[in-house]
Symmetry: C2
Subunit: 383 residues, 2 copies
């Protein structure tokens, strides 16, 4: 914590940070000075979103509130496949327009770097369409967007009873096509009993690694299935969700550089009464990140500060751990820790101002717009 500090920005990078009185000794050229009132944070990093979708799933929300279970919701036309049907038929231009305003809201809440997954296409063209939307918006929005291919989000209806064929399609057609067009940096799989098994996840991620994609894994969300251990074994950047992680999984993460990405907003939105064992992960030595999991079915959450407050209240994080979880640890979960997630020389000049007196307030006021200004790559974002 520096009080009365200054940050020197040179172009799109941070050149120096230190006591305000020492600025003069660290620059030669004339300065453009901007006074900040409040607390300056590194730009927040939302390292897990499913940000490209069509309509919100409002019926699912109410059905779940009334106690209808997952299978009955799917049978009624809801669940992931509702979003898949929507994304498949919706024109790319419409998807881009809907996604633009949603990612802009995340940016306004301080998310200067946002990971965005595909996974509502589940067929080659629709998956590519989602990733092209991300590429287009990366050129339009001030935030840095990190695209992740998640063709293995669910087995699509046309492959029911032919799982192996779908896995082959993902490995042999989708991953090569995504890599060829350079449409994704990472590949993710939903590893969960009833979705993709650990063996299928290994097969898909192994194929992705051959094509140079970094790896991530939806692991141990609702039931444990050794997902965390698999993520570590494969050298994945992150294992995400982890509400049902085992002791073995905790030990595996603790002994690795794979980041534990926790998503408390999802458990709250789903009405669950449990959360991932964040303190046990931290005390074992794992790196913990937080993210919104922004998606239309289980987490229509557009605010990292809200997720940070839930991190403290629901996961038992210290305020400092909540800040680390959306900055340097979240950067590591995207392979970006070399130059993001800190206010330090050489880092990209992504900065967030919270209009608060005490830095801890950023993870305290729930539902308040505490972020008052955002810079990306050295430039102020429009309010």
């Amino acid at each position: 914590m520096l009080r009365d500090a200054a940050v020197l920005i040179d172009g799109d990078h941070i050149a120096w940070v230190g006591p305000r009185g020492d600025v003069a000794a660290h620059h030669a050229a004339p300065l453009q000075e901007i006074e900040i009132d409040g607390v300056l944070f590194p730009g927040f990093i939302d390292c897990h979103t499913h940000g490209v979708f069509g309509a919100p799933r409002l019926d699912d929300h109410e059905r779940r509130a009334l106690g209808v279970d997952y299978k009955a919701i799917a049978a009624a036309g809801g669940g992931i496949l509702q979003s898949v049907h929507d994304v498949r038929r919706r024109p790319e231009v419409e998807l881009a327009s809907l996604t633009r305003s949603r990612l802009a809201a995340l940016l306004k809440g301080g998310a200067t770097t946002i990971e965005v997954k595909s996974g509502y296409g589940l067929e080659l063209e629709a998956e590519l369409k989602q990733l092209r939307v991300v590429r287009q918006l990366a050129g339009e929005l001030s935030a840095t967007l990190i695209p992740t291919f998640l063709g293995a989000h669910e087995v699509p209806p046309e492959y029911r009873g032919k799982r192996a064929e779908y896995v082959r399609l993902v490995c042999e057609e989708m991953i090569p096509a995504v890599a060829r067009e350079r449409l994704a940096r990472c590949c993710d799989v939903f590893c969960e009993p009833g979705v993709f098994s650990a063996a299928e996840s290994r097969q898909i991620l192994t194929a992705a690694a051959r094509y140079g994609l970094a790896l991530k894994l939806h692991a141990d969300e609702l039931e444990g299935s050794g997902g965390a251990e698999l993520a570590v074994e494969l050298g994945a950047l992150s294992a995400d969700h982890l509400a049902a992680i085992s002791d073995t999984g905790i030990r595996a993460l603790a002994g690795s550089s794979t980041v534990a990405v926790l998503l408390p907003g999802t458990m709250i939105f789903l009405g669950k009464r449990s959360q991932a064992p964040a303190r046990r992960l931290i005390e074992a030595g794992a790196a913990v990140a937080l993210a919104t999991d922004f998606n239309p079915g289980t987490s229509p959450t557009l605010s990292l500060p809200l997720v940070m407050a839930l991190g403290v209240s629901q996961l038992g994080l210290r305020h400092a751990e909540a800040v680390t979880a959306v900055t340097i640890n979240a950067a590591a979960a995207l392979g970006l820790a070399a130059d993001r997630g800190q206010i330090a020389p050489g880092c990209v000049a992504d900065l967030v101002v919270a209009a608060v007196d005490d830095w801890r307030e950023v993870a305290y006021w729930m539902g308040a717009g505490v972020v008052s200004a955002v810079w990306t790559a050295g430039s102020a974002c429009p309010a």
Copy 2:
């Protein structure tokens, strides 16, 4: 639900609402027309806040996250008494300034009517100071503020071991002084084992009723103590919290006009794994309202739309029930149902616009600023 509708406002009241095509038949004078894009709701009503306080209780938040219990937090100088100490010594002008910006944030989130309790004074002058802040801000802010006297929020340290004396002070000095200066509309008591017993609560509320104050009760929050039944017996406007309400309490509320005010944000911020039995209350026939419980220790929540989303996800409300819970039912919890909480002729022209396509989205996007415009008494509030 009206689509393509119009609302006619005459001065500070709603004169007519109906299909847009029928406007011409319902007015004579020239109109000033304002086009709305989105969904128009009655102004939201936050019927339970402790909005006048000094510093946020950040240490309590982290201590609780790390598993420190209520008593140990109090022993370390936290808890309600930290806010009491703060409010007692803080100048009225400072309290007004802090409260102004916080209530303005609630208003921006759509709360056009806000109940504000005292209860961090616990001595005559400091209680009056809090209520005078509310009166001052009622004249400055566009929101309607409803002041509630909560001198029986806790037994202050100087009356430890002399509870009966404090109860007598509340009944015989504070309530008469508050009534004389017309500083409160309602009187509330924190009825909970270890705070004020049902007998003490009855004594205080009975005194308040003699002075013409409407009654409210913090009831059955952490442990059941017959609070809901007492609220009904005394004809209180509302019984609030209710996470530990008994079946008898549910039946009592269902057979009465006392509103059940539920506060799901508090349980989330406290890291609790349970919530009030909202569906059982509704199905029994009770009227359910939602509120932020905005306060520095257990619910620094500045957004009614977030509370509505938690109402659906955590309490099992339908979207329509969540809307009712912050409009007409919340109006009833303040004795204001005659002219607030609806878009209807004769009602105060308090209106909220949500920039959404489907009205249910107001209780869906978590942490998003869905409210795009607010009117109070027929006038637009500054953005």
